[in-house]
Symmetry: C2
Subunit: 82 residues, 2 copies
């Protein structure tokens, strides 16, 4: 069965995130008050052929460790649909 997997890869807390800072300033300039700690990373959606949701999550974790995320600078979260 094919599972729809959502992966969120975000710069680690404490690391500089210039893109997030730029967006935070731009939101303030547009009049959005009370916005803080903006961090910007990658959202990855993929279909994974697997025997079950646990196997799909395990495969996605291996993909993050090998390719999708940088273990030094990024954290990731995995959600499996259905």
């Amino acid at each position: 069965m094919t599972y729809r997997v959502h992966v969120r890869v975000i710069p680690r807390t404490g690391l500089l995130d210039p893109q997030g800072q730029a967006v935070e300033h731009a939101l303030g300039a547009l009049g959005f008050a009370g916005v803080r700690e903006v961090r910007i990373g990658k959202a990855i959606e993929l279909g994974v052929e697997a025997a079950g949701p646990a196997q799909a999550r395990e495969a996605a974790r291996a993909m993050c460790d090998r390719l999708l995320a940088n273990p030094v600078t990024e954290d990731y979260e995995i959600e499996v649909e259905g």
Copy 2:
């Protein structure tokens, strides 16, 4: 109160996503079989000061419409924590 908001901005279905295609091919080359329809967009996390979770979501939606997403080429999803 400050709500933690997660926004996912993804290229619309049917639109070309060269970054997603490149990652799909790279995953195949690394030996991950059965991966399909990879799409890559932005994951945005932000703290939003609001009276309640519904107001935080409403504010995030306005930010997506004005700045965070391109309404012609991208779809977005909003999750409010807590």
